[in-house]
Symmetry: C2
Subunit: 165 residues, 2 copies
DNA sequence: AGTTGATGGTTCAAATTTGAACAAGACCTA
DNA sequence: TAGGTCTTGTTCAAATTTGAACCATCAACT
């Protein structure tokens, strides 16, 4: 409860106290959660959260394969970052790069058997963290509210267009 | 801490569809939002989100100054990362390092006048993004729900202790 | 076919982050 | 007071991320 944010109340275009509380809570918790997730994944499987997300998206995709650009869009990472991480996952045999049939330029990232097995082995511990620190504390109502809020936000950013790097 | 997760691994509890939707929505939106924030801050002020958070926390602190460790805790970053970023902010004159009086080892990060001015100048654009893409889409009820959820999650992580540094 | 303008993916240098190691103080207690 | 043990903050090498530059291909025309 710090009153030092004088600018907070000077102008209505700043955040109200209630809004500010929500934003600060969101911001702090997202950082803490990310830290916990990284910690657990690293310890139990050597994966980073980014890598886990890549594997999970591939696993959920039809044929367990996705074009690089589409994968980057789904995981929300830059092309160069995805390129690097796919290279890393390829090196440890969890993913394979296959050149695309219909588009000579294209590359299809494909989950290997080993990759699927790694994900299967890793998911429970990861989801346990997600549960223990977030999901299990939400009532069904809270869960739907969170989903609704997050989707509205995503839609707003979608509508704004532009910054996909 | 790793052992703590192990018992859950034995009896994997997958996420229900509703839970998974919430988690996925949260995850995706948090990435998208971070991207938007980074983009806006970089364009309008040359700051990163991390640096902005540091300045904001300092500004809110009594005397606009905080010990390194406390600042790292509030912003939720590692000590080495904070050390690097404070060095960067110091180099451009937004922050000063002052040695602590009561503890010879200690360092007090202090917001300079220039730093305060930079924050003042930068905040509106930043908050506009936070509003446009998240806050303004939340009803008062949704806002309180989000705050409640996030605080419960933070509390759960707090209670779990042994947080990484 | 040839031109033009987007798109897909990689690559490179520079900047940042990570995590462990380190030095210097503080703190406890016998 | 000495010895042992936390704490604080920095530093270093290695890993990762960033963002622009780049090449090859595609798609739509002419």
């Amino acid at each position: 409860m710090n009153k030092t944010y004088t600018w907070r109340v000077k102008e209505p275009r700043w955040l109200s106290e209630r809004e500010f509380d929500a934003w600060l809570a969101y911001l702090t918790t997202s950082h803490l959660l990310e830290r916990r997730i990284e910690e657990q994944l690293k310890a139990d499987s050597g994966l980073t959260h980014s890598q886990y997300e890549i594997l999970a998206r591939l696993s959920a995709a039809p044929g367990k394969r996705l074009r690089m650009t589409e994968l980057a869009r789904l995981v929300v990472v830059s092309k160069s970052r995805l390129s690097y991480q796919i290279g890393r996952l390829e090196k440890i045999g969890l993913v394979e790069r296959v050149s695309c049939a219909s588009d000579e330029r294209g590359v299809v990232a494909t989950l290997t058997g080993e990759g699927a097995r790694c994900l299967e082995r890793t998911a429970p511990g990861h989801l346990a963290v997600v549960r223990a620190f977030l999901i299990d504390h939400c009532s069904p109502d809270e869960l739907t509210t969170m989903t609704r809020i997050m989707r509205k936000a995503a839609a707003a950013m979608e509508a704004a267009g532009s910054p996909p790097s």
